[in-house]
């Protein structure tokens, strides 16, 4: 029999239901894998083994009623868990233990999931490589010299390395999909408003969305069903029914109409990536879908628009870290102003400071109209591009990332190059639509390549259906790295 840690959630649910295994067996298997691999991988921010075992023992309820009963799950370090360290992998939140659970955590608990630990991430989700984490870089399980992507790099890496069954991440500009692509797992960013943001420490409030990192599409559907839904604590969550994704995705995709935007196959996209995605499109056609070239003409502005809006919101969201109530507080504080200044100087890393400065500038009097306001207008144009395509098509297919995993240190000194890693994922956040990245091949160096499927707002069902059909017809998702 395979080790439990390498199974998917739906496989484990079958075993749990039959009574072949107990939740503690899965936990032990995970803890063993962590012991073996984590030193090299560095995917986790915190994990308290004794607590995890306690939680397993204390599991109440019944699996029939609770969709995740007995399944261990890892949480990105920017999602609040009551009483547990939640630091966004930043020094400035040193020692912060939230007094409350995020809505998604509450839902996971109600569904009987077992909270394991927190996963590593770029500081405040600022990055595409996990290199900006205060705790150090996570390695890509397929190549220890390479990054896992980011910012949910820890969540993607631990799932890919079978240190986890599945994990939660957050996606502001591609932070779930890009690391999923680089680590060869499934990463789903739901529609903005589909999953409550209450308890997600904000990076850019109008773009952030919690989502899933899983070993296959069915697990993404199971986990999404558990965390989705309207939350009265989040005014931006939307009150629309949550479909039964796990059963709906198994319908075939005959006749489904898919657009392939020409702007996503441009220079700068790695040849192997292009080839793999083109081949995947052929496969999807063979499964009965109609794929046609479409145009999203404002795509080239997306990165600029994104980095203005996201940093503007971030500069405001991160202003609260001032050393007064919680987290890091500089010892070198005389006056109140000194306390603010030194706390922020010592507490934030370089990339956080860069984005705060950029965002502060974009919102400043005299620049607001030229930067923030103009970016908002272009955001509307980008949204219109997508609306137009979605009038005729059910989904859009693109590469997730222009390249496979890059080397640690390769882009960290050059922020602009790093920012371009998000070029294909950003638009989904600007427009609020759902997107999923699934494995669609490997490079000659055995690095995973990801395929991105984007859908209409609140139509996660369609993109998961396409992803599921493709996954059933291919083997990519079942390959595992050897550590």
């Amino acid at each position: 029999m395979m080790e439990l840690n390498s199974l998917t959630a739906h496989e484990l649910l079958v075993l749990l239901k039959k009574g072949d295994i107990l939740p503690i067996d899965i936990c032990n298997s995970i803890l063993k894998a962590v012991d073996k691999k984590e030193k090299k991988l560095h995917a986790l921010a915190t994990l308290d083994k004794d607590k995890v075992i306690e939680r397993c023992a204390a599991l109440k309820g019944k699996m029939d009623l609770q969709s995740l009963w007995g399944l261990p799950i890892f949480i990105k370090d920017n999602i609040c868990v009551r009483g547990e360290l939640t630091t966004c992998c930043s020094r400035i939140l040193n020692g912060f233990r939230p007094p409350y659970d995020a809505t998604v955590i509450d839902k996971l608990k109600r569904n009987g999931a077992v909270l394991m630990g927190k996963t590593n991430m770029d500081e405040f989700a600022f990055g595409s490589s996990t290199e900006t984490s205060f705790y150090g870089t996570t390695r890509n399980p397929w190549d220890m010299e390479r990054v896992p992507g980011g910012s949910s790099g820890g969540s993607a890496a631990c799932v890919a390395a079978d240190e986890a069954i599945f994990a939660l991440g957050s996606d502001t500009g591609g932070s779930i999909r890009q690391p999923a692509s680089l680590c060869g797992v499934v990463g789903l960013k739901p529609t903005y408003g589909r999953v409550s943001r209450y308890g997600l420490i904000a990076f850019a409030s109008s773009l952030d969305q919690i989502g899933t990192l899983t070993k296959d599409v069915e697990d993404a559907a199971i986990l999404l069903r558990a965390i989705a839904g309207y939350d009265e604590m989040d005014s931006t969550s939307v009150d629309t029914p949550v479909p039964d994704y796990p059963s709906l995705i198994k319908k075939d995709i005959k006749g489904i109409k898919i657009g392939v935007p020409k702007e996503y196959f441009i220079e700068g996209v790695d040849g192997e990536v292009k080839d793999a995605v083109r081949e995947a499109i052929e496969e999807i056609k063979r499964l009965g879908a109609v794929c046609e070239e479409v145009s999203l003409p404002h795509t080239r502005y997306a990165v600029s628009v994104y980095y203005l809006l996201a940093t503007s919101e971030a500069s405001s969201n991160l202003a609260r870290f001032d050393g007064v109530q919680y987290g890091y507080s500089s010892a070198r504080a005389g006056s109140v102003i000194d306390m603010h200044k030194n706390t922020r100087k010592e507490g934030f890393g370089d990339e956080a400071k860069r984005r705060i400065i950029l965002g502060t500038f974009a919102l400043s009097s005299g620049y607001y109209e030229a930067y923030y306001l103009r970016a908002l207008k272009v955001r509307t144009l980008i949204k219109k591009d997508f609306d137009d395509v979605f009038k005729r098509y059910d989904a859009i297919i693109t590469p997730t990332s222009p390249t496979a995993a890059f080397k640690i240190g390769e882009k960290i000194k050059d922020p602009l190059t790093m920012y371009l890693s998000d070029i294909f994922t950003i638009s989904a956040n600007l427009t609020g639509i759902p997107g999923v990245s699934i494995p669609c091949g490997f490079t000659r160096n055995s690095l995973p390549i990801g395929l991105q499927i984007l859908g209409k707002a609140f139509d996660e069902e369609a993109i998961l259906r396409i992803a599921y059909s493709y996954e059933q017809a291919t083997e990519w998702h079942s390959r595992r790295p050897e550590l």
Binding site: P98, P99, A102, M233, T236, E313, V324, H340
Partner: protein, 473 residues
């Protein structure tokens, strides 16, 4: 040189909701520090605001009462600045699409009426409160997230007296719509003033100062008088005025510079992404409008036409809704509005001043007051007895009938008893009697007084007067 003064006021008002504007915490005043807080009003990471619809409703009520144009769609914005009492380092406020546009208030100064335009009314959240003990500072976040309404006037106000009148009128309206305690000492109403002076007749506005830290309407007036004079003296001496924020010191009655324009904050307003824009349903707005009672302006007109009050009396009667309600209830029981008004403005007001508090909290029902007035009219007690009786009624809350009976204060109209007192008074006051007989008609009043004293105020003075005159003829 002749100058004219230009003043605009920003009034912040705490709305009387049960819970805070973006979370469920209680709004009780005076609870122990930091006992009415939650992750949202403490600005904890990951927390999100949710608009309290009741706060929006009360805010709309004020805007409608001020005749403001209510927006169809409203939005919240973030106002960013660092201060320890501001836990998110931004205040959720309204900038681009506030609750309402222009409206107005009528004010009354030195006997004439003036219309002051309201620029806008918007809803925002309050900050926490800092306090300092010995060498440490503390923050109480109980106030953080309280619903705050900002009412901004146009610079239509031309004197400190007008500013004072504006605040009185505004407070009166706010009390009518019953949305706020309007207590400046407790901080439920706060006022900042922008003031500048310019050459009389000049079109161009002078350089303004923003004056803060006034804790009463009188302090606003005093601060503006000081600031007006300071600016005029500067200009007269050939100096320039710098744009700045100044704090009023009520002990020394001066304003002092707090920060200059260069040090002013750039608030970097932008739309609050955590709150979606709200459409204000016109039907809902109409419904809120229907809940607003008759306001002081129209009510005053009605008091003049329906009750025959003078302009002055009517203005006083309507200035306080509780007083106006009391008046109307009393008039429905005793149909002599002028007498009721005189008692309310005279003896009742004096008792109120002495005891402190408002008419609503007074232990004197309109029923008891008018019962007393009816006893005077029926000649059962004298006006003088009534004046003496009033404080006791207020003290004990008892009705005048039983008090009068118990104390034996019924007016004496029995001619025999009056006659007896008159005989004694005449024999004891020959000098006054002679004065009267020599033609000094007023002297009879002195004799009436003596008769009243002898009967311990209970003699019917009209009867005593008549009997005296008859006797001395």
């Amino acid at each position: 040189m002749q100058y004219e003064t230009v003043i605009g006021l920003e009034v912040h008002l705490q709305l009387k909701t049960k819970s805070k504007v973006f979370c469920g915490c209680s709004t009780n005043f005076g609870s122990p520090p930091n006992t009415q807080t939650c992750p949202v009003c403490l600005g904890f990471p990951g927390s999100l605001p949710v608009l309290n619809r009741e706060a929006l409703k009360l805010a709309a009520k004020v805007a409608i009462a001020l005749d403001c144009q209510i927006a169809k769609k409203i939005r919240f914005d973030r106002k960013n600045y660092f201060y320890p009492d501001l836990p998110k380092a931004y205040q959720i406020s309204q900038f681009g699409q506030p609750l309402s546009g222009k409206g107005y208030i009528m004010i009354f100064v030195h006997g004439s009426e003036k219309r002051i335009t309201i620029r806008r009314v918007h809803l925002e959240e309050d900050t926490g409160k800092l306090f300092h003990k010995e060498d440490a500072s503390f923050i109480d976040f109980n106030r953080s997230g309280m619903p705050l309404l900002e009412v901004v006037s146009e610079p239509d106000i031309s004197s400190p007296d007008e500013a004072y009148a504006y605040l009185r009128s505004l407070k009166s309206i706010l009390e009518y719509v019953d949305v706020s305690d309007c207590n400046m000492e407790e901080g439920s109403l706060r006022c900042d003033a922008n003031i500048s002076v310019r050459k009389a007749g000049s079109e161009k506005l002078g350089v303004k100062a923003e004056v803060k830290n006034m804790n009463s309407f009188k302090a606003v007036k005093a601060a503006l008088y000081y600031e007006q004079l300071r600016q005029i003296e500067l200009l007269d001496s050939g100096s320039r005025i710098v744009q700045e924020t100044r704090l009023y010191d009520s002990v020394r009655n001066v304003t002092e510079s707090m920060r200059s324009k260069e040090e002013a904050h750039d608030y970097r307003y932008f739309p609050e992404p955590d709150l979606v824009p709200f459409d204000l349903d016109p039907e809902l707005v109409r419904g809120i409008g229907r809940e607003i009672p008759e306001l002081p302006g129209p009510r005053k007109k009605r008091f003049i036409s329906d009750y025959g009050l003078s302009d002055y009396d009517a203005a006083i009667m309507v200035s306080d809704k509780a007083l106006a309600d009391y008046f109307e209830r009393a008039v429905s029981l005793y149909k002599n509005p002028k007498v009721v008004a005189n008692w309310l403005m005279g003896d009742v007001a004096a008792c109120l001043r002495e005891r402190g508090g408002a008419i609503g909290g007074l232990n004197l029902s309109p029923e008891d007051l008018t019962a007393m007035l009816k006893m005077i009219e029926a000649g059962l007690i004298s006006g003088k007895i009534a004046k003496a009786l009033l404080p006791e009624m207020i003290e004990t809350g008892r009705d005048p009938g039983s008090l009068v009976k118990e104390r034996g204060l019924q007016q004496i109209s029995d001619e025999g008893i009056i006659e007896k007192a008159i005989v004694e008074v005449i024999s004891e006051n020959q000098k006054i009697v002679n004065d009267f007989k020599k033609g000094k008609d007023n002297a009879v009043m002195a004799l009436v007084g003596k008769v009243m004293a002898k009967t311990r105020g209970k003699a019917n003075p009209r009867k005593a007067n008549e009997a005296l005159r008859k006797k001395l003829k």
